[in-house]
C-alpha cells in the first residue's frame, strides 16, 4: 500500500485529520439544529396537550423501541471499537466490526418497518389512515405526525450511515487506514454515533411518556 500523503493545502496528515474532524463537528452542529426544530415543535405541543401526548405516547411499541435502542447502542460500540482497531492496522477486523454495525443498522430499520406496520393496522398514520376518536384525537394526531416525521428522518440518516459503514469497511479491509491515516473512518464513526445520540433523545420523547398512568 502506498504511503498516504496529505492533500496539498495541509502541512501534514495530522493537520488534515484535525480539519476533517472539525468539519464533521460543524456538520453535526447543523444536524443538531435540524432535529432541534422538530424537538421544539414536539415540546411546544406537548406543553399544550400534555394529557393527550401522554396517552398517545403510551400507544407506541415500547418493546420494539427498546430493542432498537439497544441495537443502535451496540452498533455504536462496534464502530468505536472498529476505529481503534483500524488505527492499529488491523483492517480486516475493523471491516468485520463495521459490517457488523451496518447489519445492526439494517436490523434497526427492519424493526422500524414492523413497527410502522403495526401502527398502520391500528390506524395511527396521519394523512394515510388516521382514525382515532375521542377527546384526545387531535393531540394523538399531532403526536403521531411528529412520530412519523422524526423517526422517518432518523431512519433516512440510519440508511445513509449503513451505506457509509459498508463502504468504509471495504476500504478498511483493503488496508487503507493506519495510525497515520484514519480520518475517513474516524469521521464516518462520528456520523454514526450522532445518529445514535439523536435516537437516544427520540426514544425518551416518543416511547417513555404516559407509561406510569
Amino acid at each position: 500500500m502506498r504511503e498516504p500523503q496529505p492533500a496539498m493545502q495541509f502541512v501534514d496528515l495530522r493537520q488534515q485529520h484535525d480539519v476533517a474532524q472539525l468539519g464533521m463537528w460543524v456538520f453535526l452542529a447543523t444536524e443538531v439544529l435540524f432535529f432541534g426544530g422538530l424537538i421544539l415543535a414536539y415540546s411546544a405541543y406537548r406543553i399544550g396537550y400534555s394529557a393527550g401526548f401522554a396517552q398517545a405516547a403510551a400507544r407506541t411499541e415500547i418493546l420494539i423501541g427498546a430493542i432498537n435502542t439497544a441495537v443502535l447502542l451496540t452498533s455504536s460500540f462496534l464502530v468505536a471499537w472498529a476505529v481503534l482497531v483500524a488505527r492499529m492496522g488491523e483492517g480486516r477486523i475493523a471491516a468485520l466490526l463495521l459490517w457488523g454495525a451496518a447489519a445492526l443498522g439494517i436490523a434497526f430499520l427492519a424493526l422500524k418497518g414492523i413497527e410502522y406496520g403495526i401502527e398502520y393496522k391500528e390506524h395511527l398514520v396521519p394523512g394515510l389512515n388516521f382514525d382515532v376518536v375521542g377527546g384526545q384525537a387531535h393531540a394523538t394526531h399531532l403526536f403521531f405526525a411528529f412520530y412519523f416525521v422524526a423517526t422517518g428522518l432518523h431512519a433516512v440518516h440510519v440508511a445513509v450511515g449503513i451505506v457509509v459503514l459498508v463502504v468504509i469497511g471495504m476500504r478498511a479491509r483493503q488496508g487503507a487506514y493506519s495510525d497515520r491515516y484514519h480520518a475517513p473512518i474516524t469521521v464516518a464513526g462520528l456520523y454514526w454515533h450522532f445518529v445514535d445520540v439523536v435516537w437516544i433523545f427520540l426514544f425518551a420523547l416518543i416511547y417513555l411518556p404516559g407509561r406510569s398512568s
Partner: protein, 100 residues
C-alpha cells in the same frame, strides 16, 4: 493478549449505556408525576454524554473541536429556551379549540 480486543473503557461504556436504557424504562413505569419527564431526559443526556465523550472521543480532542461540538448544543439551547419561554408562560395554550 490479542491487540484488537476492545479496551475496557469501551466495554464499560457499552454496559453502562445498556444499564441506563434499562433504568430509563424502569423509571418510566414509576408514578413520579412530572418527574417522569425530567428523569427520562436526564438519563438520555447521560447516555448522550457517554457516547459523545467516549465513543466520539471528544474528551481527547483539542479545545477548538470541543468548542465547535458544543456550539450546536448551545444554539439548540437558545432555540428551546427562547421559544419555550413563550409556550410555558401562556395561560391558555392552545388558545383555540382543535379543528379535528
Amino acid at each position: 493478549m490479542r491487540r484488537w480486543y476492545p479496551p475496557r473503557i469501551l466495554l464499560l461504556s457499552w454496559a453502562g449505556l445498556l444499564g441506563l436504557l434499562a433504568l430509563t424504562i424502569f423509571g418510566a413505569y414509576q408514578p413520579l408525576g412530572a418527574f417522569n419527564t425530567g428523569l427520562a431526559l436526564a438519563i438520555a443526556t447521560g447516555k448522550a454524554l457517554i457516547v459523545v465523550a467516549i465513543f466520539m472521543e471528544l474528551r481527547e480532542r483539542n479545545a477548538l473541536t470541543i468548542a465547535f461540538a458544543s456550539a450546536g448544543f448551545f444554539w439548540l439551547a437558545i432555540l428551546l429556551w427562547l421559544a419555550l419561554a413563550d409556550f410555558v408562560t401562556r395561560p391558555n395554550f392552545p388558545s383555540s379549540p382543535p379543528l379535528i
